[in-house]
């Protein structure tokens, strides 16, 4: 069975190569490039044999763990898995899942990247050729390396198959797109943080991290020969046994996923889970709550909304991480809540364009404009308000709670915390109110729901920048009292209570006015908005 699968894989390969000459060229070039890289890596590994065991261990374990991570994440994010042995294609044949899993695992190693990775894994043995036990160490190194590579491939296949099976083709694509956007967003801050952190990192910390890594599935197989090289043969065998057990468990889990997919070749479309619907059924009745329920479902299911929400949440996390690493002073965390409020409040400023032509349903139902506005705003505030409150409070606690730093007294801290919360509420509510009007004035081109978040619709840049500028400017102006009082609370903590009152009170007023005016605009110009969003497609 396994052999048949491998023959099939080779036959598919041959067929593809015979058909396209350029694939042969790519293959040869890629092969030479890969072999060059491999040779360089092997020379490096051989050189490691002369280095102390701890150094060789650090390089092999960290590199091996990266290799496993790469095989897991890269296909998920970027390329997908080579579909030539896609389990769905075997659905009509009586193929048992376990041989299929093993066959796919070995089949993956028949490709150029797989073969090179396998050689590299086995080649780590070069680093352990030292001392009188060199032959035994070499054998252990090869075994550990091969187990490590197999673990990498199995984990990658398991993750992609599970994602594809659970999410369905479309949703898997969308989920990875969202993750990709977030990863890009985080890349800059991550490098900044890493660069800032390097001088601060203690070598002892690094060694401790390595020790932990060596006991995780990512590092087990790579660390076993290192133990033996250091003389700890018992630990080495335990680690190797664990690594093999992990590999077996991964293959079994993967076979289970395959078994499910063999039964339902088409990944089941993600059904709306019943228990969540019940939660939304607790919303009050009426058209505006129907709009709110629809919007809440979109916040969860539409990648564009998910990406918007995630971007608003990522910034506070990044700030916190930077403060945690010492790149930023802890005091910077005072702004976590206000920044989240500003980003979330502006998230609805082009909401009719996000509906796209589906907006006709509101028009055909004769839905009053204020119901439309109120529903969208309520959907945002229902989760945005609690979130901003939590972000403000957590930020305030980390930034300078009296029981941590011992710097300020409790009354002062409470005043400043109230100030931060007031500014956050003011920015969120004002932003929501302003967005309710702006999105009813003139939608600008937005991505359609199915588009890649990386593609940007033509003609969106200038009007988009303008709309965002107007939204942010008006929001800042309307939230100015709360923000100013919050800033003042740094000097005079009693201003914090005033900021809270201003933020919540004026903010609520702005929301009410925004819903009213935006609704009136919508009543007057609904058909024109529909024409605009249809033309923009």
């Amino acid at each position: 069975m396994v052999a048949a699968l491998l023959r099939l894989r080779l036959a598919l390969w041959r067929g593809a190569l015979r058909r396209d000459t350029w694939r042969v060229v790519v293959l040869v070039l890629g092969g030479f490039y890969g072999l060059g890289m491999l040779a360089a890596a092997l020379v490096g590994l051989a050189a490691l044999a002369g280095a102390p065991v701890e150094v060789a261990r650090a390089v092999v374990v960290a590199g091996g763990a990266l290799l496993v991570l790469g095989w897991t994440l890269v296909p998920l994010l970027a390329f997908g898995v080579d579909p030539s042995l896609d389990p769905a294609r075997f659905a009509t044949l009586p193929v048992p899942p376990r041989p299929l899993a093993v066959g796919q695992l070995l089949g993956a190693l028949l490709g150029v990247p797989g073969a090179l990775t396998l050689l590299l894994g086995a080649g780590t043995a070069l680093a352990w050729l030292r001392g009188p036990a060199a032959p035994a160490l070499g054998v252990l190194g090869v075994v550990g390396g091969v187990v490590g590579v197999l673990t990498a491939v199995a984990l990658g296949r398991l993750v992609t198959s599970a994602a594809a099976g659970v999410l369905g083709g479309r949703r898997a694509g969308e989920a990875t797109a969202v993750v990709g956007v977030l990863a890009l967003t985080l890349l800059g801050p991550a490098f900044a943080a890493a660069g800032a952190a390097v001088p601060a990192v203690d070598l002892d910390d690094l060694a401790r991290a390595l020790d932990v890594l060596a006991w995780t599935p990512l590092g087990l197989a790579w660390a076993a020969p290192a133990d033996a090289a250091a003389g700890a043969w018992g630990t080495a065998l335990v680690r190797l046994a664990l690594a093999v057990a992990v590999l077996l468990a991964l293959v079994l889990a993967w076979a289970a996923v395959l078994a499910r997919r063999l039964v339902s070749a088409r990944p089941p479309s993600a059904a709306a889970p019943a228990h969540r619907r019940d939660l939304l059924a607790r919303l009050p009745e009426g058209p505006r709550w129907a709009v709110a329920a629809r919007c809440l479902r979109y916040w969860r299911r539409d990648p564009r909304y998910v990406a918007a929400a995630a971007s608003a949440l990522v910034l506070p996390v990044v700030l916190a991480a930077l403060a945690g690493l010492g790149t930023l002073p802890a005091g910077a965390l005072w702004v976590v809540g206000p920044v989240a409020g500003l980003l979330l409040g502006a998230s609805l400023h082009n909401d009719v364009a996000l509906d796209g032509p589906a907006f006709w349903a509101h028009l055909a139902a004769g839905l009053p404009g204020r119901e439309d506005r109120a529903g969208r705003t309520a959907a945002l505030l229902l989760w945005g308000l609690p979130l901003v409150v939590v972000a403000s409070v957590v930020g305030a606690v980390v930034a300078g709670a009296p029981w941590t730093a011992g710097a300020a007294d409790t009354g002062d801290w409470l005043g400043r915390a109230a100030g931060a919360l007031g500014a956050a509420l003011g920015l969120l509510l004002s932003g929501a109110g302003v967005s309710a009007v702006v999105s009813a004035v003139r939608p600008y081109p937005a991505q359609a729901a199915g588009d890649s978040p990386f593609s940007s619709p033509s003609g969106a840049a200038l009007p988009g920048a303008l709309a965002q500028l107007v939204t942010t400017g008006a929001t800042g102006l309307l939230a100015l009292p709360a923000v100013a009082l919050a800033l003042a609370s740094a000097l005079w903590p009693w201003c914090g209570a005033l900021a809270l009152g201003a933020g919540a009170g004026l903010g609520a007023l702005v929301v009410r006015e925004g819903v009213r005016r935006g609704g009136a605009l919508l009543d007057r110009r609904g058909p024109e908005l529909l024409v605009a969003v249809r033309r923009d497609r």
Partner: protein
């Protein structure tokens, strides 16, 4: 030109739901960039009738129906639904009106069930009523099994049926359907026809557009031929056909004269 035909059979069909036309379009005009896509459309749709709007591509059918249903503001003219001016009294008109537009997306991140329920609630139905009607409509249209799948994963025909369910959920008196049978398989087409039959038997009125002449002949008792943004002929099926098939009559009215003589494209024929 269509006035006489319209009035004559308004009397035939008036029995179903009292006096007055279900849809009355007077002098509708829409220009896009100076070109009149709809150039003075008058149409009278008697209550209780099934009226087919036929015409070549680009005739202005969709634009006309969009203006008749409050989705596109006309440059001139009026549209009335059972006496309510669509543009002066939109709420009154839209309560009585069910719409299936062509080429418009749905809120497709909802499941079919959620979509129909939500549409009902947007129309102001109580939640319990919206739920009950959604189940019945999904059942009749054969969507119950797919009710929890997201509409974005539906086939074109399934999405069309979901949209039809949405247009019916608030129990309208006039149904305006743009290309309701496009991409719909024969079985579903039969169930949709049955549904429309029941709707008309219950006193409702249907206006639909289609390219398929056989379908219009089978389904509609009245026809309006639209081309170049105008109504070229309207009346009962018999009046418009004048003893021939609708297709022959349609080709004659809507531009048979423009057809070439067949002299060209010689390179297409094998010598």
């Amino acid at each position: 030109m269509d006035e006489d035909g319209g009035r004559a059979s308004a009397e035939d069909g008036a029995g179903a739901s009292g006096a007055g036309p279900a849809l009355e379009l007077v002098g509708l005009v829409k220009r896009f960039g100076g070109r009149a896509v709809v150039d003075g459309v008058d149409l009278l749709v008697p209550a209780g009738s099934v009226t087919g709007l036929v015409g070549p591509n680009g005739a202005g059918k969709t634009t006309t129906l969009s203006m008749a249903t409050g989705l596109l503001r006309p440059d001139a003219g009026t549209a009335r639904v059972l006496g309510h001016d669509v543009w002066a009294d939109p709420v009154g008109a839209k309560r009585l009106l069910g719409v299936l537009p062509d080429g418009m997306r749905l809120f497709d991140r909802l499941s079919g069930r959620e979509l129909v329920r939500t549409t009902g609630e947007l129309h102001g139905l109580a939640r319990a009523v919206a739920r009950e009607r959604a189940e019945e409509l999904l059942d009749v249209l054969g969507l119950t099994a797919a009710g929890d799948e997201l509409v974005v994963d539906y086939s074109a025909g399934m999405a069309k049926k979901a949209a039809l369910a949405c247009s019916l959920v608030h129990a309208p008196r006039l149904l305006v359907l743009d290309e309701p049978f496009e991409a719909v398989d024969p079985l579903s087409g039969a169930s949709i026809r049955g549904l429309l039959g029941d709707f008309v038997a219950g006193g409702g009125t249907v206006v639909l557009s289609s390219h398929v002449m056989e379908l219009v002949e089978r389904l509609c008792d009245r026809v309006a031929v639209v081309a170049g943004g105008r109504v070229l002929a309207a009346g009962t099926l018999e009046e418009v056909r004048g003893g021939r098939t609708l297709e022959e009559r349609f080709v004659e009215l809507a531009g048979g004269g423009e057809r070439g003589t067949g002299e060209g494209l010689a390179w297409l024929r094998r010598s």
